[in-house]
């Protein structure tokens, strides 16, 4: 019995030790994880079209440059709350030729994380233009163009043609219409929205109180009108906690052990009870600064509101310019562009825009809060692409700051708004 002389012994030891270690470090953990990653209670499975889109996503190699994996790190807060195993329960194999769950977590971010892109860039028109040629809407993008996801036709059915800017449109004047694969891919991208770790299935609106300090509850629709939630730790009986998914999430150390994720979740809610509903509605698109400066802005706003009830305060409005700019860049610039010029024929300019320049900001606030579902006529130009609502994603402070940013940038100079005015508009409803 000598490893140096008995080759079959040497080969067997080499082989079986490796197989044994593989079982311990990979195969058994994979089996365990698979059995303990129930879908989150609020999650909905992909539709047939969205699954087809996932197939396109994989076939085109989108996973090479885009992650769908938010780490429990401060720098990743821009993309959403930390990912939980249950987030991926519906990412399942696409067919017999690749009977494995698609590798959507990714390993590189040459492009942004797409975990929450459906909420962040909810406009299908934007997605189509961006896929047809990314540089049409993001001048510095290095993403490939995907013209093969579109047909070029002489006559497009009404509402089907993608309003590609002239510089990028076909030179022969033909119309650009998404083909089946293009439509599937966009349906899939728009389906990418983080669901709350604690939200109950659609019907029974559960309290949005976090079950643990680290489990932020972004994207909770304000429609549930959470009465100023109990302190995070005091909600042990939340129904969602009973489900296996929530248990897995709670037991999952990646969500619980890293302290970096905690302050942002707890702070705004605890610091300022008045804004609690809004803080709970803050989505992952809120940047780091947004989370930290929020409380301060809110405080300033409430003092102001105490003195004047009017939507337009007489005293000069103090607002957080950095928050305004960062929120604009994160939520608005994709369509309206960093220059505020919009995209001709697709997204209206904010420069010289009558609504943005109006003395009465009511319509401006309403547009940001509730969007324009059917597009509309703006300054004499008809836009078919819908403007998405931001009521569920942005806090009053963020909306006020972003409106003020728009009203004071690119040569615009209009009256400013306070978070209180936004809150009032929010309360008044659509």
């Amino acid at each position: 019995m000598n490893l140096h002389k008995n080759h079959w012994l040497l080969f067997s030891v080499t082989f079986f030790v490796f197989v044994g270690l593989s079982l311990i470090i990979a195969i058994f953990p994979a089996m365990w994880v698979q059995d303990n990653s129930e879908p989150l209670p609020g999650a909905v499975p992909l539709t047939a079209l969205e699954r087809e889109g996932l197939g396109v996503y994989v076939a085109e190699g989108c996973v090479a440059c885009h992650t769908q994996q938010v780490r429990p790190l401060e720098m990743d807060q821009a993309w959403g709350r930390p990912a939980a195993p249950g987030d991926y329960a519906y990412v399942t194999p696409l067919g017999v030729w690749a009977p494995y769950a698609p590798a959507v977590l990714g390993s590189e971010r040459n492009g942004p994380d797409l975990t929450n892109v459906g909420a962040r860039q909810a406009s299908d028109v934007w997605q189509y233009i961006h896929l047809y040629n990314p540089r049409a809407v993001v001048p510095d993008s290095v993403m490939p163009a995907y013209p093969w996801l579109f047909d070029r036709v002489a006559d497009a059915p009404p509402g089907k043609a993608v309003p590609v800017p002239a510089a990028f449109a076909p030179k022969d004047g033909s119309k650009v219409v998404p083909n089946a694969r293009g439509e599937a891919l966009v349906a899939y991208l728009l389906s990418l929205k983080q669901v709350s770790l604690t939200a109950a299935p659609a019907a029974e609106a559960a309290p949005a109180a976090a079950t643990s300090a680290a489990t932020e509850a972004p994207g909770t629709a304000p429609a549930t009108e959470v009465p100023a939630a109990a302190p995070p730790a005091a909600a042990p009986e939340a129904p969602a906690a009973e489900t296996p998914a929530a248990e897995a999430a709670a037991a999952e150390p990646s969500a619980a052990e890293v302290p970096a994720a905690e302050p942002s979740a707890a702070e705004p809610a605890a610091a300022e009870p008045v804004t609690q509903g809004a803080a709970a509605a803050t989505t992952g698109s809120a940047t780091t600064e947004a989370a930290t400066t929020e409380a301060a802005t809110a405080e300033a706003a409430t003092t102001e509101a105490a003195t004047t009830e009017a939507a337009q305060p007489a005293a000069p409005v103090e607002w957080d310019e950095a928050l305004g700019e960062s929120t604009f860049m994160a939520s608005c610039a994709a369509c309206h562009q960093a220059t505020g010029q919009g995209i001709v024929g697709a997204f209206p300019p904010l420069v010289g825009n009558a609504v943005v320049g109006a003395d009465d900001p009511a319509e401006h606030i309403a547009t940001v809060l509730y969007g324009k579902p059917g597009g509309g006529v703006i300054d004499g130009v008809t836009y078919t692409s819908p403007m998405p609502p931001f009521a569920a994603q942005l806090s009053d402070e963020q909306i006020a700051a972003v409106i003020n940013h728009e009203r004071t940038s690119w040569g615009n100079s209009a009256t400013l708004v306070t978070p209180d005015a936004v809150a009032a508009a929010r309360k008044a409803g659509q």
């Binding site: 270690l21 194999p93 030729w97 590798a103 959507v104 971010r109 942004p112 540089r135 093969w148 990646s254």
Partner: protein, 481 residues
């Protein structure tokens, strides 16, 4: 010091004259043509795979250079990685193993027909896999296993046939002990075959988190349990052979072998640190990543101590510089990998281009340089024809300088990317910041690709043909100036 040496002379020439290898003792035409075919096919895949890689690097500067689906970034990226893994590196290593294993076993290769069947299976699978990737057919986007299972099955059968062939050759060996090279080379097969089988069994990869657990395991072992032990095994033969002295310590080699098996197998999860996979797997991976320093120190120490005092021999050889550079890369950049696994550093560098730099420093700086050292060291002994030493030198410097530019650009750029994300700037700022680094990467990549063209030319110069050593002698002493 009576004799003037070009290395030590005050007035140094641009190049040092290189010594030529001794004539071939026993030439077996069947053997020569088999090995040269493997190496030749590998060279073809090197040119194709790195041409694709080079084109991709240009796309970062000119994303609208083409609008053809088959040439789009997302589809070509796996063509690049899979071609250089399975087409170039694997075939080239097998070519060298088909020389080393019979030599160290003092036997002829067990079966030539089997080796030829494997040759065609592997080449056909890489060709079919690449075409499918370009057509948009891939294996659920899983990195380094993008070939769908029917294609990978053909590849695996080829690899199993080679493994069986080599195992039978070793079993039939003419000496009592199994030389350390054959430990490593056979282990590469015995580890990679179950690895690929585990990676392609679907039933525990049915949602994206369980798939991720296997992905980390697979993508790491695919490199570390195949290329690493394989080239180390080759080097345990080639280095002592070229230096004409025994390896410094046989026991260190054995220690590094077992350390490789125990430590390396456990560290795959460090590719998904902070992912929602079980935290304990990630921690185990980090601990064993750090433990890999033992394996590294034992392995590289052994090689460097073997090379100690042989500076002049190395300078006067055209193949040993590749091996010296490869061994140094092995230590430096594997250690870099251990560092990257630590959570605080991983926080900055994960998802950035730093990772791309690391994978090239290891796969290219370590594995590929050692493969070239082995091919330049072994093929002339087989065919009786040496490559022009000057052009081997040009190949070496283009490859090394190119890789340095490539990887430093991406390491600095990757750090800038990570810091940009940490500062909370809009994402597009990190894309803008990368522009100049991506350009430098393309420059480095161009040099690397040129070095591959020169390598192909040198391969042509080493081809087996009738006229032997007489023609080779003058070429070997060729000196510029």
């Amino acid at each position: 010091m009576a004799q003037t040496s070009p290395v030590l002379a005050v007035k140094r020439p641009l190049t040092v004259s290189k010594t030529s290898v001794e004539p071939v003792a026993d030439s077996d035409k069947r053997w020569t043509s088999l090995i040269y075919s493997y190496a030749g096919a590998a060279t073809f895949w090197l040119i194709w795979g790195t041409l694709v890689g080079l084109y991709l690097s240009y796309k970062f500067a000119a994303p609208d250079v083409d609008h053809i689906s088959w040439l789009s970034y997302g589809r070509l990226r796996p063509v690049h990685t899979n071609t250089v893994f399975w087409g170039w590196s694997s075939l080239a290593m097998i070519a060298a193993a088909l020389y080393v294993v019979p030599r160290t076993s003092m036997r002829r290769l067990w079966s030539y027909p089997l080796a030829w069947v494997a040759f065609w299976l592997i080449n056909v699978s890489v060709l079919a896999g690449d075409v499918m990737l370009m057509a948009g057919i891939n294996n659920a986007g899983q990195e380094y296993r993008e070939y769908i299972w029917p294609v990978q099955l053909v590849f695996a059968v080829g690899v199993i046939l080679v493994a069986y062939n080599l195992a039978r050759t070793i079993a039939d060996r003419g000496i009592e002990e199994i030389y350390i090279s054959n430990w490593y080379i056979m282990a590469a097969f015995l580890w990679t075959i179950p690895l690929v089988v585990f990676a392609y069994i679907p039933f525990y990869q049915q949602n994206a988190i369980s798939q991720t657990v296997i992905q980390g395991y697979y993508m790491h072992m695919g490199v570390g349990m195949w290329f690493t032990p394989f080239v180390l095994g080759l080097t345990y033969y080639v280095l002592p052979k070229l230096l004409n002295k025994p390896i410094y310590s046989y026991s260190l080699g054995v220690l590094a072998f077992w350390a490789q098996l125990i430590f390396y197998t456990m560290i795959g999860a460090h590719h998904f640190i902070f992912a929602p996979t079980p935290w304990w797997i990630q921690t185990v991976a980090i601990i064993f990543s750090v433990a890999m320093i033992i394996t590294l120190a034992a392995g590289t120490g052994n090689f460097l101590l073997t090379m100690r005092g042989e500076g002049r021999t190395i300078a006067r050889s055209y193949s040993l510089p590749f091996i010296l550079a490869g061994v140094i890369s092995y230590f430096l950049f594997s250690a870099q990998g251990s560092l990257e696994a630590i959570r605080s550093l991983q926080g900055i560098w994960h998802f950035t281009n730093y990772t791309v730099a690391h994978s090239h420093l290891t796969m290219y700086g370590f594995v590929v340089l050692l493969i070239w050292g082995a091919l330049y060291g072994l093929l002339p002994r087989l065919t009786g024809h040496e490559p022009p030493a000057f052009w081997v030198g040009v190949h070496f410097w283009f490859a090394v300088v190119g890789l340095t530019l490539y990887s430093f650009a991406l390491m600095i750029g990757g750090s800038v990317q990570g810091l940009s994300w940490m500062s909370g700037s809009p994402f597009i700022e990190s894309v803008k910041a990368m522009a100049s680094f991506w350009l430098w990467r393309a420059v480095g990549g161009t040099l690397m690709f040129l070095s591959h063209i020169i390598f192909a030319f040198n391969m042509w110069a080493m081809r087996p043909r009738a006229a032997t050593s007489s023609a080779a002698a003058p070429a070997a002493t060729e000196v510029a100036q």
